[in-house]
Point group: C2
Chain length 450, copies 2
């Protein structure tokens, strides 16, 4: 599948018939991949060969820049077919990604009802359950039979996993119960929905609920789909597991970015421009550089000690690196633990006590190795024991402070509703740098009588 | 749901009847959460109140330490019921997590066939498709009718999403096609499976395929389940989307841990002991500390310059921090991009060129700010312009090296089949530290004539 040139060649040789029957046997995700890797003029030709419903599926799978290039080249009629065939949630996502002129052109080619539905979806705040839900689902009524239900499924004609749970609503569209496809298949055709539906403890999402919360529910209850209700418990849509999988990936990627001191990016790396990458990174770089200069001031205040014992300088990178690493180990575990809801704010003391014990073990081992190293490198120095002791004590203290900051700052951030991912390696490193150098020189001055 | 004491109180007051009917209305995931938060003796009492099939579901949802406590308190008959009711993949996972004595006790209480199946599952290598598949699925034959199929689904009696795709196999269990529940529901009861099944381009996983690869397929093709076949294309099991969701979470967590210089942990943070946390962290801490001492040697070789111009020391934290941050921004994006298959090794030059341009923009901005800062803080120093130039030039170089290492090292690691996540912030920082200090003092010696 990786060699796309055979398809280009078939185009060049005008083997349209063979090409088309090849395409019909392919998976839509693979066709989308093909279209993304060939010149756009050829992509349009291939796209036009696809049957209508397949074309819409392929279209939904494309990156937004390829979508845009296609739309710019398609006729109004073709655009009309695509927008009507797309799932409404996919259509809304697509409209949201396009520049205003393209979005307008597409909406102008949609039916008024479709346009209205898309606009309604676009109004939900970003990252809310409403913004990722689809409005295509099978809704049944209590008094229907299984036979009626099959008829309704046939009419709804959806072909995602949307139909494996059907939703029973009353006359005001309030959710009354759910019926799984399994129940339908195992029931007699004359059974009545009201008798076979499940109406106990249905798990629902609210339109304004955060998508991360919804993802937790999917994970906890092993859901395939969840009904989305408004404030009056009226069913307004559903969210399916494939959309949640995307949410989980995106949220993890965002955390990776924030934890490496960047603003989260909207697009994949290769699709993000140089200037946007620069803008996402420079803010934190500047802030942390200026903070690092603050640490420099601490060093400056110990200039006298540095000139007296130049050897001290050589330990600076080792101390600051170790502090940064020890701190980022703790903060990473705590941030991730909170992100996947394994650690909550109630665990504050438990976490702190754990980290204190780990920091003690790690501090002792590191300081022993560092002492040995100082000793071996400076055996002729009459003050070697004292210098070793300065390093060892500083290390124990540094690791302690680092691990404590590393676990406490993310939890405090969460407490005051700041994203804990901000309290990751870069910021922890800067904070720990300053405190470890302060301790280092204070101990050195004391023990070495500088 | 968060207040578990009401259930404890009901137990203490012997309100068994009310408690049981309360439980029956609950979701199994919520009951599992309850059992994890009350004393184990009470948990056993509640667990015993549950109907058999519900008990197995609750059991599968428990953390392994709670599973073990329960098993230690249950009778052989009770253990027999649980192990027979569990899905085989859940049973195998559970046996794997238990200490040998418990595992033996449980297997001794299983039927011989169950024992054999579990042992077969346990033989697949960790993280392979075989190790996460389930062997409970609906298999149909070509010549069956839709009516026969419904009968078979009823007999298989599974209640996960396992039945929404049925698999058609020949007499040698080779996979011939798939039939979705949707197709079954929309067909006439007398239709024959061979006529309605889909046999074009079925996406399969092989038993030994890495679970991450399987997760990519789920994501790319929006699958609910995937058939797992052996080397002769015989169907041996299926993997369902809920298990894949767990894989995706675990793989992301592992990357977070590795990228913060830790060995990945098997268990959630709060369930991991202090000594195990210490062991996971100390190796990298030691290695990086010793590397940091190497950087110290570079400083030592410039002792002369440091004594001549003590001001230089005060820039060390700022330079090393900025280098580390700039590098970890790039490495994080590249490692994550490769983990979610957005960046491949073919993109090497594209990535490097992008990072070079970003590093130039960031380097120029940072160096201008740093120059200004040096100027403002040292206006009376006759050499202020030269010192500012030293800092600015070093910063440009440092950011360049950092971003280049940050993007290239993870890709090179992948090329030589090392996990790219190792080439993250901590290691990059150490490498960049050394090179930026070397450049800093070289430029300083040259421009300041030390």
């Amino acid at each position: 599948m990786k060699d796309f040139s055979i398809y280009e060649n078939m185009l060049d040789d005008k083997q349209y018939h063979e090409l088309r029957s090849d395409l019909l046997e392919k998976n839509t995700a693979d066709i989308a991949q093909l279209l993304e890797h060939i010149p756009v003029d050829k992509a349009v030709l291939i796209f036009r060969m696809l049957p209508k419903n397949m074309a819409a599926e392929v279209f939904a799978d494309l990156f937004s820049d390829v979508k845009q290039s296609l739309i710019e080249r398609l006729s109004d009629t073709e655009i009309h077919f695509i927008i009507e065939e797309l799932f409404l949630d996919d259509a809304a996502d697509f409209i949201e990604e396009m520049p205003a002129t393209i979005a307008k052109k597409v909406l102008a080619n949609a039916k008024p009802e479709t346009r209205e539905e898309i606009n309604r979806l676009l109004k939900y705040p970003e990252n809310s359950a409403g913004s990722i839900m689809t409005v295509e689902y099978v809704d049944l009524k209590r008094e229907m039979t299984v036979r009626d239900s099959f008829e309704r499924i046939r009419k709804t004609g959806t072909d995602k996993e949307t139909l494996y749970t059907c939703y029973v609503t009353d006359s005001e569209r309030r959710l009354e119960g759910i019926v799984t496809a399994k129940t339908l298949m195992l029931s007699e055709r004359d059974d009545v929905i009201g008798d076979i539906m499940d109406d106990d403890g249905i798990i629902v999402a609210e339109t304004l609920e955060d998508q991360e919360e919804v993802a937790f529910k999917f994970n906890k209850y092993d859901l395939l789909s969840i009904p989305v209700v408004d404030s009056e418990r009226r069913l307004v849509g559903i969210i399916t597991v494939d959309d949640i999988a995307d949410v989980v990936q995106e949220e993890a990627t965002e955390d990776f970015e924030k934890m490496a001191a960047m603003l989260p990016s909207e697009k994949p790396y290769l699709k993000t421009g140089v200037f946007r990458l620069f803008k996402n990174r420079i803010g934190w770089l500047l802030f942390l550089m200026i903070s690092g200069m603050g640490t420099g001031l601490i060093l400056q205040s110990f200039e006298h000690a540095l000139v007296a014992v130049p050897l001290l300088v050589t330990f600076i990178p080792m101390l600051t690196d170790t502090g940064g690493n020890a701190g980022s180990q703790s903060s990473t575990l705590i941030i991730r633990g909170m992100a996947v809801a394994e650690i909550s704010l109630h665990d504050f003391l438990k976490v702190a006590w754990k980290e204190i014990r780990v920091s003690f073990l790690a501090g002792v081992v590191l300081s022993m190795v560092a002492f040995l190293r100082v000793f071996l490198m400076n055996m002729n120095d009459p003050e070697v024991y004292i210098k070793g002791a300065v390093i060892s004590l500083t290390l124990i203290f540094t690791v302690f402070i680092a691990k404590l900051c590393g676990c406490m700052l993310p939890m405090l951030a969460k407490k005051v509703k700041i994203d804990p991912a901000v309290m990751a390696a870069p910021l922890i490193t800067t904070i720990v740098d300053a405190s470890s150098l302060l301790v280092f020189f204070s101990i050195a001055k004391l023990l070495l009588n500088i």
